[in-house]
């Protein structure tokens, strides 16, 4: 009994600092945010309670829905293209020699540790319409008609930003998958080889199913990371042209800090929290429901 309580106390003591920080800086701000979302508020002071007016205005704002669509496009590309690519890279990395693997690991982490500003500026240069890398290549192969202004065209701007964002984190996700692969006991693969399974079959039948805990972790991380997409948009296009590349968080920033409408900004924040909670619930509900133990 003493041991039981002793452990609980230890758990409490060790988790207490993190719990305090989390409560203070993550949980607690939600409450004033809820209060402000029901006020007319210019960021300096409350101008009175307005009931659900901010929520109604936000939900009737076409730009809010456009920013949601942009956010979900980024999430969808990340989940359906980015994550499989990361997984593929991890599987390939696992089959390389130690020196190649070391190179892979270093280059995987490199973009993720670079400042977003550096990455964004690099991609602005790559997309530059006159002398940027992409258009220079297109012009060199006589595809001048495809050499468009990637970041100024409403049809391509979100895709262009997503590519820059994916490029930054695809390697890091690959590394997470790789650490998951290394945790799978070799005996499974040895048995598979005896049964005549090749790389593809072993990957599909053994590696991917046994990676479901890591997949779930990477999925949650990527989804929420994409949902919170702001910095790349801010630096690369400032949400433009017009409002074409705004994400939900950018729209929140725009309302609160550019238009000084903290009431609507907080209403967007509360809706955004709900969206994130729903997504996290869905992932938890449908991905990796059974615990795997080796």
């Amino acid at each position: 009994m003493n041991r039981y309580f002793g452990n609980k106390l230890a758990i409490f003591i060790f988790s207490f600092p993190a719990l305090i920080l989390f409560t203070t800086f993550v949980i607690y701000p939600i409450f004033p945010e809820i209060a402000i979302s029901f006020q007319k508020n210019d960021g300096f002071k409350s101008l009175g309670y307005v009931g659900f007016e901010n929520y109604i205005n936000v939900l009737n704002d076409a730009t809010f829905w456009k920013s949601n669509l942009n956010t979900f496009i980024i999430v969808a590309i990340s989940v359906f293209i980015g994550l499989p690519t990361s997984l593929l890279l991890a599987l390939v990395m696992d089959k390389q020699t130690e020196s190649v693997r070391r190179f892979f690991k270093a280059s995987s982490v490199f973009p993720a540790v670079l400042s977003v500003t550096v990455i964004a500026q690099m991609w602005i240069a790559i997309y530059e319409p006159q002398w940027g890398l992409i258009n220079s290549i297109l012009k060199a192969v006589k595809l001048d008609n495809l050499a468009i202004a990637w970041l100024s065209d409403e049809n391509t701007v979100v895709l262009a930003i997503t590519v820059a964002f994916l490029w930054q984190y695809i390697g890091l996700n690959a590394l997470l998958f790789y650490t998951g692969i290394k945790a799978i006991p070799n005996t499974y693969y040895e048995a598979a080889v005896i049964d005549g399974a090749g790389f593809l079959r072993a990957s599909v039948k053994i590696t991917i199913p046994l990676l479901q805990d890591v997949t779930k972790y990477v999925l949650v991380l990527s989804t929420l990371g994409c949902m919170a997409q702001f910095a790349h948009v801010r630096i690369m296009t400032a949400g433009g042209p017009g409002d074409a590349s705004r994400t939900v968080v950018y729209q929140l920033f725009y309302k609160a800090f550019s238009a000084s409408d903290f009431g609507q900004g907080c209403a967007i924040a509360i809706i955004f929290i709900l969206e994130c909670l729903v997504l996290t619930f869905l992932i938890n509900r449908f991905v990796a429901r059974e615990k795997i133990e080796f």
Binding site: F5, K8, L9, F12, T23, Y28, F31, P32, A35, I36, Q39, N41, D42, G43, F44, K45, S46, L47, G48, I124, E128, P129, Q130, A149, W150, L151, S152, E154, M236, T237, A238, G239, G240, P241, G242, D243, Y254, S258, A259, S260, D261
Partner: protein, 444 residues
Amino acid sequence: MIKLTKVMAVVTALAMATSLAACGGGADKPVDPAKTNETTAEVKNEEKVKIKFLSLSADDNRNAIRDNYIKVNVEKDMPNVEVEYDLGGGGQDYANKLKAYNASGDMPDVWFSEQNLSSVVIAAGNALDLLPQVQKSGFDKKMKLPDLVAPDKNGKLFCVQPGADQYFTPRIWYHKDIFAQNNIEVPKTFDELVKVCETLKGKGLIPMSIFGKDGWVPNLAMVQTMIMAEDPQVAQDLVNNKTDFSNPVVKNALGRIQKLVQIGAFDKGVTNVDYGPSIEAYTSGKAAMLVMFTWETAALEKAAPDTDFFPWPSAKEGLDPNDAIQYWGAPLSGYLASAKAKNPEVAADFAIFCATQDALYYNDNGSPTMLDTGKQVEITSPLLKKSLDQFDAAKIKVPSMWAATFNAKMSAEFATQNSKLLTGKYSPDEWIKAINPVWAENFE
């Protein structure tokens, strides 16, 4: 264990409840005007009055004004004052610091701020009315542009400034060599400008370089100048809230910008062109013209010696392009004092002193100011002299709508709409429909 959890829950709940109560808007407390009258007696009794001065510190001009003028001359000109300097950084950092002071209601005694920040501090009742000291000191008599020391509709004046920005005006700069090589005459009408752009585009040049990211050039200059090209009075009426953006002159002006986009007058991807690259495109000779304010005169003269400028081409027969000019600056960009300053008269005098030192700095560097400091300003740049002569000769001078009139929400929406306009696929009607509801709230 359970007790500990309960204690924690109670503490957290109390903290949340306290903060929520604070969030409910205690900032509505009115400023006690009586406090602003605690004055001279106190000053006389104390040897030195302490003044806390918040200034920008990420800007070379601001640093030089503070370190080489205010710090040096305050001991001589205001020996009764001891200044504590609060260096606030620049940009958003400075804005956040000022916002935090404003939210707490505990402002520094004197500070520098731009129009958009000044207006919120004033709205919160945290700024001191400087009019009595401005009149008492004769500061108002030294200002060449009376608008800058005119009281507001409530008879108050919250900001004093050197009047250094008012000479800044947007110009169309051009390469004389490129125009000469292509037998192009300086356009005097909008239709001629369109033809010039088409000719230059046909020669493989960018006709007109502009800083288009976030709609910058249309925001600060082009929408207003296009309105003034047809009827300057409409721009003046907008500034004075006597008309709105559904005025037909505004629609025509937007149509002219749309036309320039559609004929390819601007760089490819103009909605994402930044300040530096827009100037670089011009100085490197890739662009034949540049739309930019006169604050870049010296830099343009140095980087592209064949640079000249022409006034904005007229869009109405009989309208002389030299007659009307848009001036930069805003009535609330400058030095303000706290309504809660312990010695309001001294704080007001120090704000006036800072504005004067500011003007002296610009005068010593060859730039004229609306505030007459008594210094003879020697203008060595022929291009600047030409610009100033044209400025002085203009019959109608209209303040910048962006700098002098728009609140934060209007500025943000204006930028969004102008960025859309620069895509060439957004109609003036859509623009007007989106902007008018925000404009209706601008003066509330």
